[in-house]
Symmetry: C2
Subunit: 365 residues, 2 copies
C-alpha cells in the first residue's frame, strides 16, 4: 500500500459560519477581498465577510475584477492591488474563478515571479494566508493547492500548484448557493462529480482519496434526478456544497485527469462552462478507463447504484441536455492540445493522441 495525504486547510461548514467565525478574520491586519464583479454582492457572502472583518477591526480593500476563467494579467493586477494596499491576507469569495485567482494573487503578492514564467517556474513556498468562501458547489478550490489560469499563449488553461497555496480556512455556507440558476447548479455539480470520479481514475489514486471520492459520488448521484428537475432544497444544496468540498479534497491528493485536460479546449475555444465541459467528456472517458481498470469503474458505478457505463452516460446526457455542435477539424486540434497536457499523463491509463480524438468524437459528434 502506498499513500500520501496532506490537506492542511481548516474546513468549517454550517449556516452563517462566516459571521459565526469572525475570529478567523483576525489572522491579519488588512485583507484583500478577491471576488468577481457581482455575485458575491448579491448572494450575501461579501456582506458577511465585511461584517466579520469589521467585528475584528480588520481593514480591507476589495479587488472585484476577477472574470470567469481568470487570466494571468488579472492575477498580476490583483497582486499589485494586494501590495499597494499592504494586505497581509486574502479573503476569496466566489466560484472557482475568484478562488483560483486569489491563490495566484496570494502568491504573487509576496513572491517575485516573471509573468512569462509563472506557469513553469518553481513558485516556492510563500504566499499570503487565505480564507476561502465558495459561493458555488463545484470547484472544491477552497481545499486544493491549485490555481487554474487561462494561458492565452498556449490557448488553454494551465495550473500552478504548491502546498503554500492551500487556503488556511474554507468557510462553507450553502445559503450563498441558494439562488444559483439551474444551469450553474448543474454545471458546478457535474464539475464536483468529475473531481471525485477522475480522482478514482487518476494515476495518483489511493485508498484514502478513493474513500473520500466514493462519499462524494454517492451524494451527488443521489441528487441526479433533482438536478434534472432543477429543484433543490437548502439541505440538497448543503449536500452538494459538502460533496464539492470532498471532490476538492480528492483532487488535492490525486490531481485531475485527461477529462479536465480535454475539457479545457471546450472552454477556451467554445466558451463552454468548465463543469459542463468535463461532464460532456466524463462518460466516454469512464468507458475508455473501464477497458484497463474494470474493477475501478465498477466501484465508481456502484456508488451511483449503476451497473454499466452506458447507464452513467445516459444519465449524464439527461442532466446536460442537448450538446453543442463541433466540427471534426476542431477536435483534431483539441486532441493535439490535450495530448500534451499534464492531466492526460495523470490518467490511470494514459490515452494516446488518437484515443483522445476518439473520446472527443464519441462525446461530441
Amino acid at each position: 500500500m502506498e499513500l500520501g495525504f496532506y490537506m492542511p486547510t481548516k474546513v468549517i461548514v454550517g449556516a452563517d459560519c462566516v459571521r459565526r467565525n469572525a475570529d478567523i478574520f483576525g489572522i491579519g491586519k488588512k485583507a484583500l477581498i478577491v471576488t468577481g464583479a457581482s455575485s458575491a454582492k448579491k448572494n450575501g457572502a461579501l456582506d458577511d465577510a465585511v461584517h466579520a472583518l469589521k467585528a475584528k477591526n480588520v481593514q480591507y480593500a476589495v479587488f472585484d475584477k476577477v472574470m470567469s476563467n481568470p487570466t494571468i494579467n488579472c492575477v498580476y493586477e490583483g497582486a499589485e492591488a494586494a501590495m499597494e494596499e499592504e494586505a497581509d491576507f486574502i479573503v476569496a469569495i466566489g466560484g472557482g474563478s475568484p478562488m483560483d485567482a486569489a491563490k495566484a494573487i496570494a502568491l504573487l503578492a509576496v513572491t517575485d515571479i516573471d509573468k512569462k514564467e509563472l506557469l513553469t517556474a518553481d513558485i516556492g513556498s510563500r504566499a499570503l494566508p487565505m480564507i476561502h468562501i465558495p459561493t458555488t458547489a463545484g470547484t472544491g478550490s477552497e481545499v486544493t493547492p491549485y490555481s487554474i489560469l487561462t494561458n492565452h499563449e498556449k490557448k488553454t488553461k494551465a495550473s500552478i500548484g504548491a502546498p503554500c497555496l492551500f487556503p488556511s480556512y474554507a468557510l462553507l455556507d450553502a445559503k450563498y448557493t441558494d439562488h444559483l440558476g439551474k444551469r450553474t447548479t448543474v454545471n458546478t455539480a457535474i464539475d464536483a462529480l468529475s473531481h471525485s470520479v477522475e480522482g478514482m481514475m487518476s494515476a495518483r489514486a489511493n485508498i484514502m482519496a478513493d474513500a473520500i471520492a466514493r462519499e462524494g459520488i454517492r451524494i451527488i448521484s443521489s441528487l441526479f434526478d433533482k438536478l434534472i428537475q432543477g429543484y433543490l432544497t437548502r439541505p440538497d444544496r448543503e449536500q452538494l456544497l459538502y460533496a464539492s468540498m470532498l471532490g476538492g479534497v480528492v483532487i488535492s491528493q490525486t490531481k485531475t485527469t485527461a477529462v479536465h485536460s480535454m475539457g479545457y479546449s471546450l472552454t477556451y475555444f467554445h466558451g463552454i462552462d468548465h463543469g459542463r465541459a468535463n461532464g460532456l467528456l466524463l462518460g466516454e472517458f469512464t468507458e475508455y478507463t473501464e477497458r484497463y481498470a474494470p474493477s475501478k469503474v465498477r466501484d465508481i458505478l456502484s456508488c451511483m447504484n449503476m451497473t454499466s457505463v452506458g447507464e452513467f452516460k445516459a444519465k449524464l446526457s439527461r442532466i446536460l441536455g442537448a450538446k453543442e455542435k463541433f466540427e471534426p477539424e476542431e477536435l483534431e486540434m483539441y486532441a493535439d492540445i490535450a495530448d500534451a497536457a499534464g492531466g492526460t499523463r495523470n490518467s490511470f491509463h494514459r490515452p494516446e493522441r488518437d484515443e483522445i480524438l476518439g473520446i472527443y468524437r464519441k462525446s461530441l459528434l
Copy 2:
C-alpha cells in the same frame, strides 16, 4: 449541516517510507528522537530514522525513557533533554506512549508551563515540529493533536490537546508491526476500532468524520477472524496500520467518548492494556447508545456486516478472550472517576453515573 475538519499532518504510507523520504528529516538542525526502551530498536524503525537523519547530515540525540502510559515527570524529563541537546525538532518512534509523550515534550521544550498546571493550563500555540513513526497499529496518535498522560494526582489518564500538537509528518510502514505478538496486535487493533466506533457515537460526530470512521470500521472488522486466529500477513498489517491512522483522523475531529474515559481506570488500577480496556467496554456502550441513536448504531453495525449489537459483543468477546476479575466496589470507584471525565460528556448520549456503573457491571462482572 455543521462540520469542522482540520488535520494538517502530512501522511505518507508505504514500504520503506522512512528511508525513501529522508528529505523530510531535513526540517531542522538537530532532532531529539523520543522512543521507548527497546521496541524501536528491534523493529528497525530507529535504524531507519537514524539512516534518514544521517543522509541529511542532521544531528540527533535519543531519549528512550518513555514507559507505557507515560507520566508527567517523564515528559518534563524529555523536554529537558530536548533543551539541553538544543533539538529543534522531534522524531517520535513507537506506539501511543512514545508518540503521546513526544507531543508533550515538543510543547514543553518551547513553552514554559508549570508541572502542576500542565493538564489544566492553556498550552498555547507553539511546539517543536514533529515527525511521527508509529510502530503499532492502534493509537492513531500520529495524526491527532492529543497527548494522553498519566495523572497520578487524579489516578487516571488525562489529555492535553491543541492544534500545535499535530505532527508535521506521519510516516507509516507496516514492516515495523510485523513482529508484534498476538496480544499487542489484538489490543491495538481493538483500540483503532474503538476510535472509529466512538467517533460515530461522539457528541462531535459529523458527516465527514463518519465517512472516514466507516472506512476504518470496515477494514478492521474484515480482519476480525484473522485477529482471533492470530495470523496476519503483511498486507493485513498494512490494512490495520492504515485503519489505525483513519481512526486517529476520526478522533482528531470528534475526540473519544465514555468508552475511553471508563477504560482509563482499567488501565490505571488494573494494568489492563489501553486498547483491551476500550474493547472490554465497547460492546456494552454501543448497546447503551443504541437506545438513543439506533440509526447511528445500525450504521456502525452495517460496516461490520452485522445486524445486532449482540453479534458485535459476541465477536469482541471471542477476540478479547477471558476477562479479568473485578470486585463490585472497584467498579463503584471507577464509575465516580468516569462520571467526572471529559470523554463521558463527549458521548452522543451522556451516561449518568449509575448508567456508567451499569455499563461497567455488564461489561466486567
